[in-house]
């Protein structure tokens, strides 16, 4: 998280930290046996990693403490539409993990709500994104051991698309923005999600409840001026989420 703050304990109880191989990712608790994350976190070299290679941590805002209580996944479900062999296509960047044991919820571990059927995210509405990913400390990118969060506004789809078009003038390897994605961030930069936050939740709050509006997916650098973070639009995947959970 760039330009954010340390999250006090129990303030983001759905936050999950994933350790996949040597990489770090995020996720969110959505049910007592289900974790929602980004597909690209669980796919390496075009193949889904085996469940036993995924270590899941939750219930604390400190990685050192978090590491003491790993949880195991029994199976992983990558969205069938996720095809990203060249790491340039993040469409359908969503996945589910089923835990081998159910979680009992308390103040430190609590599920995040899913968006309502047909939910739309208004431009400018502030969301909250969190994660254990890269942050900037004294001007240098560092991997943090503290859960951080930052509040970012939802960016108009056109604005985001224009931003990416501008970047394409100087870079050829820019992924496409699809209707299954939305952007969040500020034009002046310095506030963003970053590597290691992938799979974490971009939440919106309605009627006092937080819900998973987006999943940290991709972006062009982190916190750079004129760029935005791109998030998987969760509201487009409610049928797939419900079916996957019900069928498994």
């Amino acid at each position: 998280i760039i330009g954010g703050s340390n999250a006090p304990h129990k303030t983001i109880p759905w936050q999950v930290m994933l350790s996949v191989g040597s990489g770090r990712g995020g996720g969110m608790v959505i049910a007592d046996r289900w974790i929602l994350t980004a597909a690209h976190v669980l796919v390496a070299n075009g193949a889904t990693v085996p469940p036993e290679d995924v270590r899941i941590y939750m219930g604390h805002n400190d990685v050192k403490t978090l590491k003491d209580t790993p949880v195991n996944a029994s199976s992983l479900y990558i969205h069938p539409g996720y095809k990203n062999p060249d790491l340039l296509n993040y469409n359908n960047d969503i996945a589910l993990m089923k835990l081998d044991q159910p979680i009992t919820f308390d103040s430190s571990v609590m599920p995040l709500c899913l968006p309502a059927e047909g939910a739309t995210y208004d431009t400018g509405v502030m969301g909250l994104v969190s994660g254990f990913g890269i942050t900037i400390n004294r001007g240098r990118e560092v991997l943090t051991n503290r859960l951080k969060y930052v509040q970012l506004p939802v960016v108009d789809q056109e604005t985001c698309s224009s931003s990416l078009s501008s970047i394409r003038r100087t870079r050829s390897d820019v992924p496409n923005l699809t209707e299954n994605m939305f952007c969040a961030g500020v034009p002046e930069g310095s506030k963003d999600s970053c590597q290691g936050d992938s799979g974490s939740a971009f939440t919106l709050r309605e009627n006092g409840r937080f819900y998973a509006a987006g999943i940290v997916s991709w972006g062009i650098e982190c916190g750079k001026r004129g760029t935005y973070g791109v998030y998987t639009r969760v509201s487009n995947y409610l049928p797939w989420i419900n079916n996957t959970i019900q069928n498994n």
């Binding site: 129990k10 109880p13 049910a31 103040s107 599920p111 709500c113 969060y149 939440t203 937080f210």
Partner: protein
Amino acid sequence: VPDPDSPMFGEVQSPQYPQPYPPNLQQQWELRVPEGFQIRLTFTHLDIEAAAGCYYDSLTVLHKEKLLGKFCGTENSADGHHPGNHPILSPGNTLMLIFQTDDDNPERHQNLGFSAQYQAIDVDECSAPEPLDGSGPLCSQICLNTLGSYLCACHHGYELRSDQRTCVLSCGGGIFDEPEGHLFSPGYPMIPPHAVSCQYIISVEPGFTVSLNFSDNFHIESVDTEDGLICLHHWLLVTIPDREPIKLCGGSSPGLMETNSSTVKLDYHTDDKGQSRGWSLDYRTQRVQCPVPGRVANGRVTPVLTEYFYRDYLHVRCDQGYKLMMEGEEIQSFFTMCVSSGRWHLSLPECHIIDCGEPEPLLNGAVTVLSGFQNQYRSVVQYHCNQPFYSPLGGVNVTFRCDADRQWRSTHDVISSPTCLPVCGQPTKLISGYQR
């Protein structure tokens, strides 16, 4: 019954009849009809050489050694002895016919011999005179002639002895197993012959008791002593199992006698003297009585009667919310029967309050007792979820009551325990910042 091997009738003819009989004959026929019958022999024709004393040819009729007739000649012949139209009746059931001819037959008249028919005639034994040997009449009281035999019978109050001939005064004794009846001594109320020894056994089904009700007209000879009346020569001995026998005599009726037993033996004895006129009684039976059952707490005993007798049933049902218990075991139903010993075959059970057992535990919730004791009938418990992390499906905590069918049931008739749903998106601690 006529012997099937002995004919009831038949025909006898001389050899070659109706052709003349040959000379030098000596032929005999032994006629036999069933026992109890006589033979009546009737000649339809007899033509045997006539001679004085039937000297040449003859037909001799014998019963055993007794000569019944010796016949020859023709119906109108001057010589000989012709039976004419008179039949010959044998004293018994056999008859011997002997036909003899000599070696010379008159040439001018060819004698044809004889033809006769016989039939069995029933003997009326009853009208036979009394034998002179002093053995008495054939039947001492009533003689009944039957076809081929006879039967002896006795007047009312007497019975035929084993000799099937003589009669003896009837005791009227034996075993009485009907629920009620009437007994009396021989000849009652008349003075019977001496030396009566009669036994009467009243034996009804166990579970019933016999009561004897002697009529007022009671007279059994007694002897008056300083110690009172004693039944020295004549008595009626009443024997009830497991009790001392009671010897009755005198002129006063014992009246009603409750035996409390299903079996009573009466032995009436008189010696060869005295003038006892005897006794009579009616007996009745009634069912053995069982004690009135007690009450069963939290239950009902039916039917409710003032008295209970042999074969009466009792049912026990528990009030709603209670179960039948017997010797520490639960039973599904209960009945007991009044048995022949005057007891209930099973003692009454108890009614214990039912319980629904521990309510099912609630995942991510708990159950608390609101009222009642040990999960018993009508206890009320409430399920609640571990809030604020879980909330009950439907949003409100559910109460369950222990019902009579031993199920925990909600007010909406739901049996299964509720579900706790996780609460999402509501951290207990919110990120707060006041700096602007």
